[in-house]
Point group: C2
Chain length 296, copies 2
């Protein structure tokens, strides 16, 4: 089993209003994910709010993770930043703290050209000296990777995986054939977008980078394992139970909904970073109903 | 003449590779803009690379500006940030340093909802206590303002202006009629997108937020003044001379081209912040030819 295989769980990073990480709450979330037996943790992903945290707080989050689940469940750390030198520093911080892998999105303000993304990734992969996953998330970065660019990036030392958004037409198999033709043997192709995970896993992707697994790791793992053994009926049963949650993710954005789920489950009480607003209190009943469907 | 009227010039912020502002070079650019007689300076706009600079460096840039042109040409300072508390701190910094106005874009990582943008603007306008211009720039922020949201924002204390992108269909007059119906009397409506400035000014907008005026202030001012007196032939003559520069802006992005223009004019030698790459050296001849067309 390589690092970028199976189920990767993306927790929120609980903070106070000033952006200081609540390390106790984070450790509790991570311990729970570890006990569920997922394959890896995606710390400081988009769901982990990396874009809203200072370098110092991101370092604290990684140190907390390594102190709680280091050596037990592999930890992949998001190191995206608007400046190349900052992303390099974050990659070095993650490595120093003992992280197992890196996740890098081409965050941008000025829209980036392909060559700029290429050189940015090469610089960060070299600075980090850890297996790195390309974080392809046009919804947050506005950058669209071409197959050819993913191919070029996959040949850079340390670049070992890509985390793809759901394909527009839902053609996972076709997309994976195209990407496998552009990338070296063993290069990992995984998906994010929880409501497409069942289809992606059944089509044979290497990894599910899962938001919901950050808070419902056992249930997401059950779906993953059923897909890995080809139990289509069980995959569909679990995915069906998740449907009300997927609907909330689509309407409100998974980032906002995850904070509400954490509160509903009694795991932690934190708000997303302003300007992101918490879900209206009036939606909490819907969140609880959706959770009941999954937790039975 | 109010703050958000006429020609506002947006300089680059020269820095070294580590993101430290070259205050001497910045002061020279600002002094030159002041001497040309423009109506205001848009410091730390998108062209000023605000998104790539730390709070400390942004404060140094504002202090440099106030030390060189403060009290002579009004200075409007970009205070956008991903976190609301950071944008508030930047607004307070700008006010402490003596800035005349603020410019706020809804920078985002997680795509923002209208209510989040509304509350973000209200919080920053309250913290800054200076006239504030809504920076509507979907090309960098991905957030699209509805007319209704601009209307709501225009009623917040201190919110005095909007900087619009070029309308899709080029219908400046129609857009301004719609926006004037939503906003209070005296609320300023200006445009950015240099290649549309001639049409925007002739259609009666209040302000041109100009990238090129950051380096060619006299020439941009000549276009502005000709438009303000309705001299259509002169506006078209000057706009025609700018066409090769507008083409470069469209192909390479004005941010990258501005660094090349600064070098070609011998004003300063700085590179854009990585991951943004400088224009290839092979394009410098084209930049010089385009400048010759404007400078005769």
């Amino acid at each position: 089993m390589t690092l970028f295989t199976g189920l990767s769980a993306f927790p929120i990073t609980p903070t106070d209003a000033a952006g200081h990480v609540d390390t106790g709450a984070l450790a509790r979330l991570l311990e729970r994910i570890h006990l569920a037996g997922v394959d890896s943790i995606g710390l400081l992903g988009s769901t982990g709010g990396y874009a809203f945290l200072s370098r110092g707080e991101r370092r604290r989050a990684v140190e907390t993770a390594m102190g709680s689940v280091g050596g037990k469940t592999p930890v992949i750390v998001g190191v995206g930043a608007l400046r190349t030198d900052e992303a390099q520093a974050l990659a070095r911080d993650a490595r120093s703290a003992g992280a197992d892998g890196l996740l890098l999105a081409p965050m941008s303000y000025t829209p980036l050209f392909e060559e700029e993304v290429y050189q940015h990734f090469a610089a960060v992969a070299d600075a980090g000296q850890l297996p790195l996953c390309i974080y392809n998330n046009p919804g947050t970065t506005r950058f669209t990777f071409s197959d050819a660019l993913i191919g070029r990036l996959s040949k850079i030392a340390n670049v070992a995986a890509v985390k793809m958004p759901l394909p527009q037409e839902g053609d996972f198999a076709g997309e994976m054939v195209r990407l496998r033709a552009e990338t070296p043997r063993g290069f990992s192709i995984g998906y994010s977008g929880d409501w497409g995970a069942a289809a992606a896993l059944l089509a044979g992707c290497d990894a599910w980078y899962s938001v919901i697994a950050g808070l419902l790791p056992s249930e997401a793992l059950a779906l993953t394992r059923a897909a890995q053994v080809g139990d289509i009926a069980e995959v569909e049963r679990i995915d069906q139970a998740f449907q009300p949650l997927w609907s909330l993710f689509k309407v409100f954005g998974s980032f906002r909904v995850m904070y509400a789920i954490a509160e509903a489950l009694g795991l932690c009480r934190a708000d997303p970073p302003c300007p992101i607003l918490p879900l209206p209190q009036s939606e909490m009943a819907g969140v609880k109903n959706a959770l009941d469907r999954v937790l039975g």
